[in-house]
């Protein structure tokens, strides 16, 4: 039976894992992920979820146990944040390298020592080189839906990539919004049981992937990422058809018709940005919003297609890459994606919400205004604009 109620992001994620019929969950608690795994424990205890939750002693173990379980034939789910993701950095190389379709949640939290418990995106973006698919979610509903989509993407035999479903700690994980939990039978029909075509550890049917050189494996992994762009979009389209909700797969263009400039946001701040953009549109300002949902694989082709429509793109980077070639991580990715275009928009780049500070409507308005001005003047004022350094008045 499908039902709808107020649900925090962590709870929605637990329901996502439940609906996906995750068989093994090796996990270790860390704020702001803890309610996710305690909800799973509760759902198991009251019989709702038929899953083995392995209470491992650390995140390093959690991901290694996930690898063993996935190779052993079980559908695996896990989750972590910040320091925990860093602690599992060594085993995080293994699922993409061995093409194991593990799905995990990265509940974003800023990294120590320059952060506390609240979010920025460095913890998940730090994993961008390994081969994980990185998808970002704006609210509880999207978290639940994206987890189901993630398994469909990951377990596609043309793909076999692990997927991380990322969402901001506190702002998504602990904020309750109306969430529809689809019917289990309907999900079962859409998401069949997991059976890896390359791996079988059972002695009577033992099978391992044929030996390939490292270069062949690497190229195979890169090829899977290229192929996954279409798969991610198709899965979302299919999901929308069956369950009524879709997010565009890779990016979403919001209120962009006739815009001269756009802001690119990710994760929870997108919700706030939608309201600000609507306000500014009502004032006659030609500003639109692009929500970047899929960070890996980076939607190069999507951006190349839409970029020529705009004079300036304002990239909001809720992350740092100290000593970088210029600004934040998303801006650098986008710059490379657009580099070959003969008619490139200007890129304005902003740091905001770092170390988990709230991203306010005033700040979004400021970034939109700066980008509109660049579109008008043809001048980009800073390589990177640290928005929090400006006094922009009261919080809201």
């Amino acid at each position: 039976m499908s039902f709808t109620r107020m649900m925090e992001g962590n709870e929605a994620a637990a329901w996502g894992a439940k609906l996906a019929r995750a068989e093994v969950v090796p996990a270790y608690p860390i704020t702001p992920q803890t309610e996710l795994i305690s909800t799973i424990a509760t759902l198991i205890a009251d019989g709702t979820m038929k899953t083995e939750y392995i209470k491992v002693e650390g995140e390093h173990t959690a991901m290694a146990a996930a690898v063993g379980a996935s190779a052993g034939g079980a559908r695996v789910f896990t989750a972590s944040s910040s320091q925990g993701i860093a602690f599992m950095d060594e085993p995080l190389w293994i699922p993409p390298g061995r093409r194991l379709p593990i799905v995990m949640c990265m509940v974003n939290r800023s990294m120590a020592p320059l952060g506390g418990l609240r979010p920025d995106h460095n913890d998940s973006m730090h994993q961008r080189d390994k081969g994980w698919v990185l998808l970002y979610c704006e609210n509880s509903q999207e978290v639940l839906d994206t987890i189901l989509q993630a398994y469909k993407i990951a377990e596609n035999p043309e793909i076999y990539l692990p997927v991380a479903v990322c969402y901001d700690g506190y702002f998504v994980s602990a904020t309750a919004t109306p969430t529809t939990v689809p019917d289990q039978a309907k999900v079962d029909e859409w998401l069949p049981p997991y059976k890896h075509e390359w791996y079988d550890l059972m002695p009577d049917s033992y099978k391992m992937p044929p030996p390939k050189s490292f270069i062949q494996q690497r190229m195979g992994l890169a090829e899977a990422h290229e192929k996954s762009k279409k798969v991610i979009k198709d899965v979302d389209t299919d999901y929308k058809k069956i369950f009524g909700r879709g997010y565009g797969g890779l990016i979403e263009e919001y209120n962009c018709d006739g815009a001269e400039a756009v802001l690119v946001t990710m994760d929870s701040m997108t919700g706030t940005a939608r309201d600000v953009i609507d306000e500014m549109r009502a004032e006659g300002k030609k500003i639109g919003l692009i929500k970047l949902k899929c960070f890996r694989p980076f939607p190069r082709e999507e951006f190349q297609k839409i970029a020529p429509k705009y004079k300036a793109i304002g990239v909001v980077d809720r992350n740092n890459s100290f000593g970088s070639a210029g600004g934040g991580i998303v801006a650098m990715e986008l710059s490379r994606a657009l580099y070959e275009l003969p008619d490139k928009p200007l890129i304005t780049n902003f740091h905001v919400g770092l170390s988990g500070t709230d991203v306010t409507m005033n700040q979004i308005r400021y970034m939109a205004d700066e980008t509109l001005e660049a579109a008008k003047t043809g001048i980009v004022k800073h390589v990177i604009d640290w928005v929090e350094a400006h006094d922009l008045g009261e919080v809201m």
Partner: protein, 291 residues
Amino acid sequence: MYNEEFDKYYNENMIQGGTTCCPGCGGPLFWKLALKVFGPNTIVYGDGPCAMCALRSIKVPYYGIHFSFVADGATGISAALRAKGREDVTLISSAGDGATSDISLGKISAAAERNENFLQICIDNEAYMNTGIQKSGLTPYGAWTTTTPTGKESNKKDVPMIIAAHKVPYVATASVAYPQDLARKLEKAKSIKGFKFLHTVIPCPTGWRFDPAKAVEVTRLGVDTWVNPLYEIEEGVLKVNRKTEAKPVQEYLKAQGRFRRLTEDQLAYIQSEVDKKRDDLLGNDGKQIIH
């Protein structure tokens, strides 16, 4: 001339002859003896000790991750077996001494605490041999290694007792020099549900510096001098298996080049430590030592 007969023999043994291990390595000998007990319905999860060269030659399913993940992958595989309704499969988790006592001790401790259902084996050649003979927590006092060129100054960790303290169903020490005792222990471990731990010191002619032909002989001396005593702890009750008179440790130590530089004082120290351990074991034989 006998190729066909041997090929059949390797399949029966579930291990291919001619591993990439050093001549005289106790690793392939251990697996040859062990696989006979485990049988074909087995999955081995293992990491990278030297003796892993043997694991590349076994003919039962093998899965590995690097040695910082001892017991972790097995934990996952164990859960997958339950999820798939295949608890009939025997799951073995193997690690070297470096992994067991150093980098993954916490992992093994946690798996023991969770009472994971597999047999954790420590294949102990008493140093990080794979990377060229560096000291580990299980290197004995006084032994030469490349990182302890004047002899190791600290004592060998008592890993079986550490694991036994977790109140797991079964802990045992065993030796390839006493194959019947080893087989009996593996048989018992196979029949128990929950976390089992087996510690076996295997000979390493390359790292211990002795003629490979003496591999089994040296291992036997290790047991007969009570440097590596044979015992079991089942549900916390100690049972000492070999209660022979102790040969002087000198016989064991002199047989290996890595102890060449031991002084008289160091020899005396080692003998007294071995004697104390022997008295302790014999005094507690048959008693409930883990509560």
